[in-house]
């Protein structure tokens, strides 16, 4: 089971956090701090896996963002690495050449995409087409109902 997924920048700024087990805000902050210091201090071309407490940490850097996934002991590290990659692909497909700014400004979308892909710490749908189809379907719904409120935005 995946315990959590964190996205943070090279400066250690947290960009996305997804926790699959209930933990306190305090604990979340502590873990985030541990992860950023641990991962950011790694030398380039090191292996992508770390042991941390009784979890395995799988991380990978894409451009300016680090993706950091914690899985339970006994889970498969390589496939977890590809979970990260598949998520990046999904983001890329949606935003078109995704960059850190996309995730900052459209954070809610990044969460929605993640929700289509992972659920309860397990993979829900591995097919890129399937995930994209449902994301697009919901975007269609959004465009359908947001238009009538277009004027209101001016007062936002």
């Amino acid at each position: 089971m995946i315990r959590f997924l964190l996205l943070f920048s090279r400066q250690g700024k947290l960009r996305l956090q997804k926790w699959f087990t209930p933990i306190t805000e305090r604990e979340k902050k502590k873990i985030t701090r541990d992860m950023t210091t641990m991962v950011l201090s790694r030398q380039p071309r090191s292996c992508n896996f770390l042991h941390w407490k009784d979890l395995k940490i799988i991380y990978k850097r894409y451009a300016s963002l680090y993706f950091c996934l914690a899985i339970e002991n006994g889970e498969n590290e390589l496939i977890a690495l590809e979970v990260i990659h598949r998520y990046v692909e999904l983001l890329d497909k949606y935003f078109g050449n995704v960059c850190e700014l996309d995730i900052i400004f459209n954070f809610e979308k990044a969460y929605f995409i993640l929700d289509e892909f992972l659920m309860g710490g397990e993979i829900q749908e591995t097919s890129k087409q399937m995930v994209n189809r449902s994301i697009e379907a919901s975007d269609m719904l959004q465009e359908g109902d947001s238009s009538e409120w277009f004027e209101v935005e001016l007062f936002g």
Partner: protein
Amino acid sequence: MPAVSKGDGMRGLAVFISDIRNCKSKEAEVKRINKELANIRSKFKGDKALDGYSKKKYVCKLLFIFLLGHDIDFGHMEAVNLLSSNKYTEKQIGYLFISVLVNSNSDLISLINNGIKNDLASRNPTFMNLALHCIANVGSREMAEAFASQIPSILVAGDTMDSVKQSAALCLLRLNRTSPDLVPMGEWTARVVHLLNDQHLGVVTAATSLITTLAQKSPEDFRTSISLAVARLSRIVTSASIDLQDYTYYFVAAPWLSVKLLRLLQCYPPPEDAALRSRLTECLETILNKAQEPPKSKKVQHSNAKNAVLFEAIALIIHHDSEPTLLVRACNQLGQFLQHRETNLRYLALESMCTLASSEFSHEAVKTHIDTVINALKTERDVSVRQRAVDLLYAMCDRSNSKQIVAEMLSYLENADYSIREEIVLKVAILAEKYAVDYTWYVDTILNLIRIAGDHVSEEVWYRVIQIVINQDDVQGYAAKTVFEALQAPACHENLLKVGGYILGEFGNLIAGDPRSSPLVQFNLLHSKFHLCSVPTRALLLSAYIKFINLFPEVKPTIQDVLRSDSQLRNADVELQQRAIEYLRLSCIASTDILATVLEEMPPFPERESSILAKLKKKKGPGKVPDMDEARWNVNGNTEHSENTEPTNKSSPPSLVADLLPTNRPRPASYSPTILSAGNMAPSHPFTDLLNMNSSPAAGASLLVDVLSDLSSPAPTPTTGPGPGPTDVCEEHFSRFVCKNNGVIFENQLLQIGLKSEYRQNLGRIYVFYGNKTSSQFLSFSSSVTSSDTLKTQLNVHTMPVDPTVEGGAQLQQILNIECLSDFSDTPVLNVQFRYGGTLQNIAVKLPVMLNKFFQPTEMTSEDFFQRWKQLGVPQQEVQTIFKAQHPMDTDVTNAKVQKTASLYLKPLCGGGVGLILKCCNVSGFTTRETLNRSFNGSLNL
């Protein structure tokens, strides 16, 4: 500004995010946020009802602020309102806010549940998915109570859309993890298994996750999934890569599903059905074969996905541990990876090989890679890879290669990263002891360890070398000589000085014949370093000096001079000063005989688990140190460790460790609290931990218990009743509870059980506290109390039910109500069962419910007493013991203890004494006489 703005961009939100990003300082950011919060609050409180869009936008802003790390204390209600919007986009933001911000005990749960209920009933798959996601994200107990019964039917209903099925499966999985009691198995179970045959691979993937988790908890209910999983796996591995369309990932067919199926199969032993078994073997062979094929793509994703499946297949092969050919092939494959250019693969190969090393079929094959692993230790750039190499060397070590491995680890230690030094030190210390053929090598190794990495040598390590030297007669002379030589170095580590001081103090006489190491030379050598070291070490050296006075009368004046000096007698440190004064006085007034008795050589140490191993386990966390150590280190020799862990051990003589550590070796008769024990040598340090002297005066309650333990031991051991058969009943801490009602009754790597008990008349109540020491959940937790048939008629134990899940780090309380119906001598047993990381744990502990807990004193006049006393004239009704007290007697304390412990006397006398009269007199201050009278009629002071 955002590069793209798809769907409905919320302009106000984008502006706000830009503002935050443009803030130059933390203060500016906080200021901007506070402004925004005030704005939103006024909008929410305003008279004008907000439209859905604004509500959504503000809720989204709040979410952003929260994710930045700021506290949010309002807006929850608005988010909940969004759930009932019929606009998808508003609903979606509402759910997102709730998933991120609502913790499981929010008072809004009932409102949220209402929204979820409507969406689940809507039959709109998009809405249903949102609702299911929310349940899985929050996963609280209230939600589980509200929906757990509904979700299985959504999952197995014929008309449910595939995407909803996927969400339902994973939602159920989540609820099963958090509140398994609310997700009972039922008619749906069989139908879930059949989802493995579903057309839609996404459904199969989600279902496999669910089934794996359920099968770990109740394997029997899901046994039928084995054949379906094998069939599915076989179809995947033999498919052409295009067959599975979008489920093919970089030319690898359904890697996620394959990994999950292989994990599901790891919940079970190899299939018994021959055809099924051979089909599975074929699959595994195909996967191993594919590893040898040229890659279909140069992309790293291709090789990762392919190898992910391969590693999972190897994990299954290791789990089955039954097919020698497959195991050896797996080992060879990993051997190839050891030299792969991908760091990840080298890392994983080292890690997998650790588990292979413990299989009897592959242990030898793993050993052939020793040179590669040693090379990895020397050349790997990444410290985490080197650490895996250390782990593997440790795992593959046996008698045949121990010298080489220990030597390599020692040489690596010279340059090792600080982060892993301590662990390497522990490992070297353990291997050196475990495989020591002669103890000279062991002593050399440990001294080397201290020389190379003195700072990282924990107390356990140097305690251990002293324990071994003291217990092994034949190594004492060598040890004295070696430490003497090592101490010659101009700068030696303080730990070496501690070992040196202790060993020379005990065994310096063995090398004193050589003029180069005459008593005076030895003393001067130690004393030359005295002023450079810390207080605990100096305290230890002072004790070594007084031992010298006993060993070598000729240096007595020199040492007395040292003790007499101002720097000792007036030392600012109380401990040092006291030692100096006492030792000086002792050396002046005591006769040679007394001195010889007081300062006698230390008696051999009683044995128990190596403190070093315990430390390593603690360091590595539960389950990380292979079990083989545990068994092998159980020096009592009763636990035969599973033989397949190491075939070479089968014919070899019992490990040296075992004969080093005689458990019943009698203590020297002269042993008494007055002897100068190491406990006195360094009281400011946790020395007692090393010594485990049960009779140490510190354990106040031990006064009578010690004496009684001999008497009580022949009592019939209680029959465990119909509890779990093979589990040993733990009674390690049982005797502690004779006089006490509270404390820890059981503790291992995973679990701590503490008791708080209270008794009144014939009733008792025990609060049992189960502490989860790990960071992951215990599942299917249950506990019950079993009693023998006889005991059941004598003692009523009522157990309150407990929650089946114990969160990591959490404590669970259970109440036991006890009623004593008649006198009893058996003991009830507490059986605890739970699942940790997939394996079922069984623990049985003797519950300290003893007859004496229900005792009450009765007041009576002395005439009454003696009248009754005299009535009990039959010889079997009286027993008398006279023994020496170990401490000065305090009448009150002794009375209290006698009242609490008296029942133990009864055990050897009869099956169930009912009443007893007890006379306790204190003769001449040091001898206690206790006389017990027993009657059968139950009329006396019970």
